[in-house]
Amino acid sequence: MKDSPLTIAGKTFTSRFMLGTGKFKNKSDVEKSIGASGAEIVTVALRRIDVERHEENILQYIPEGITLLTNTSGARNSQEAVRIARLARESGCGNWVKIEVINDSKYLLPDNNETVKATEILSAEGFIVLPYMFPDLYAARALVEAGAAAVMPLGSLIGSNQGLKAKEFIRILIDEIDEVPIIVDAGIGAPSQSAEAMEMGADACLVNTAVANAEDPAGLAEAFSLAIRSGRLAYLSKIPAAQEAAEPSSPLTNFLYEHDLSS
């Protein structure tokens, strides 16, 4: 079945699996995971990019042609996110930025208000802004209004592997936000959970912790990629709705219309 490409800010992507690069035991596992999964968008925290020393620079492990999505990890408010994004662009990391504004080190929940402010400023400066957010419809609308190129609602807490705890709220975003792609980010711990998000109609998924912590990261990255493709195809094929009772494939009353019962 042919799928239309994922389009973000006019750029098209075949893969709907996006990979985060934190927590890996070594950088070559990042490279292998990108290769095995076919990920075309990879996010890297600017705070972890060592542009000056070049030794063990994470960017050396990201193949050419991959879209680098620099994230603003460490930003506690919109001003800091804006400064980090500008620094990323000045450092040669391009203008695709994932806004992360987190002012709670215990739960790592994103601050939607500050995220909207940062999105507005950076979009106006020509950045392609993909904001990480708590799945709140008002905030998602505000992000779209502010110029976001996609919205990235969390599935559950970062690094928790809890899956789609925020499912019903993500569903609302999928139903209501059609201007930009919805990319489910954070908390996805297993390929089945990413498939579930895609079956609901999410446009893409971003996964990090589960892959980084797998015994075979590249193997799990490939599994995620396949699950995401599978979920996408299921969504496009329009999965029949679940019924409360069994529905026989040969209806019980067909005979009424097939034979003359009076004879």
Partner: protein, 339 residues
């Protein structure tokens, strides 16, 4: 959330099977939230002038040691020497002298350190919010301040004079630093000074209070054990390796996302095991003397405490890689701090 009496029970339980379970849980949580990343930093002592009399410290005012304070030129050469090892996260330390190392001196140090390091923390005399704000604006991102012990009686016994003898002022230091905008705050107790269980309960309570009131700060905890200084013991540390590991594991379970630091006070062997269980940040290639990296030969040095793990940064990086850890030297990109 686990209750305080439960914490006490756990710390008093020495059943090996129980400890094994604790260790497994701690390792799993550490893996989940930090992966295999281990951050590296180095301490750099700017001055050993001190006006406090703390009975357990090599820098205390009554110790007849050579007092040294780095000049700006000396800071440059010391910092350059550390930066050349690959370290990007620096902890600048002084003794607690408001006269010898005033705010202006610390700001100067921070301005110089910005040329060499992407992240600067300080472990210096406690200050007020306004002064911390000035330090933050000058480029300091983190403050390390240990209460040493939360036992008021014991605190008074070991902190005989100087500003440090003011228990309440020291205890409220982390909140003043947080209010000033600091990104990282490191708390801790000096194990061996007083009753360990009591100190841990108080430390956990302090951290929970800080998390609630200043959620945006990244916290880390340290559990330094009292060490000898130039071979002499100033106090006996009664915290065994078993207790120490139990403390690390329990802390990780209670605070899954909090950084746990381990200094070169501990042996390389113990550090290796602790990394598998919950430690996420270690010092590397450390020297605890003023001018110890470049300016002074080993014989001239007056360390704050003796270090056990003598490996260089390069050796530690290679060791970490061989154990499937990802040594993280760069964990911050300096942005202009503002309030």
């Amino acid at each position: 959330m686990i209750s305080l009496p439960e914490i006490k029970d756990i710390l008093n339980n020495n059943d090996p099977a129980f400890l094994e379970g604790l260790a497994r849980k701690s390792r799993t949580l550490t893996q989940q939230y930090f992966g295999r990343a281990v951050s590296l930093y180095a301490p750099l002592y700017l001055s050993n002038y001190c006006s406090s009399h703390c009975t357990y410290c090599g820098f205390q005012s009554k110790n007849r040691i050579a007092r040294v304070r780095l000049t700006p030129e000396q800071m440059q050469s010391e910092m350059k020497a550390v930066a050349e090892t690959g370290i990007e996260s620096i902890l600048l330390l002084t003794g607690e002298s408001y006269e010898a190392t005033p705010l202006s001196y610390l700001k100067e140090a921070s301005t110089i350190a910005k040329q060499y390091f992407s992240s600067i923390s300080m472990e210096v005399h406690p200050m007020g919010t306004e002064e911390y704000r000035e330090l933050f604006l000058s480029g300091v991102d983190g403050i390390t301040v240990y209460q040493e012990t939360y036992d008021r009686g014991r605190y008074k016994e070991v902190h005989l004079s100087g500003k440090k003898s003011d228990y309440d002022y020291r205890r409220d230091t982390p909140q003043r630093a947080a209010r000033a905008g600091m990104r990282h705050i490191s708390l801790g107790v000096l194990l061996g000074l007083s009753d360990t269980v009591g100190d841990l309960l108080a430390l956990y309570g302090h951290l929970r209070w800080m998390e609630k009131h200043f959620p945006g700060v990244e916290y880390s905890l340290s559990f330094p054990r009292l060490r000898k200084i130039k071979g002499r013991a100033f106090a006996i540390c009664n915290v065994s390796d078993l207790d120490f590991i139990k403390i690390l594991c329990l802390t990780r379970i209670l605070f899954p996302r909090v950084g746990l630091n381990l200094s070169t006070r501990e042996t390389s062997a113990l550090r290796g095991h602790a990394l598998e269980l919950g430690i996420t940040r270690i010092s590397a290639g450390s020297n605890t003397s003023v001018g110890g990296y470049h300016l002074k030969s080993a014989g001239e040095q007056e360390p704050q405490f003796d270090i056990e793990d003598q490996r260089s940064v390069e050796e530690i990086v290679e060791y970490l890689k061989s154990k499937d850890f990802d040594p993280v030297l760069t964990d911050w990109r300096r942005i202009e701090n503002s309030v």
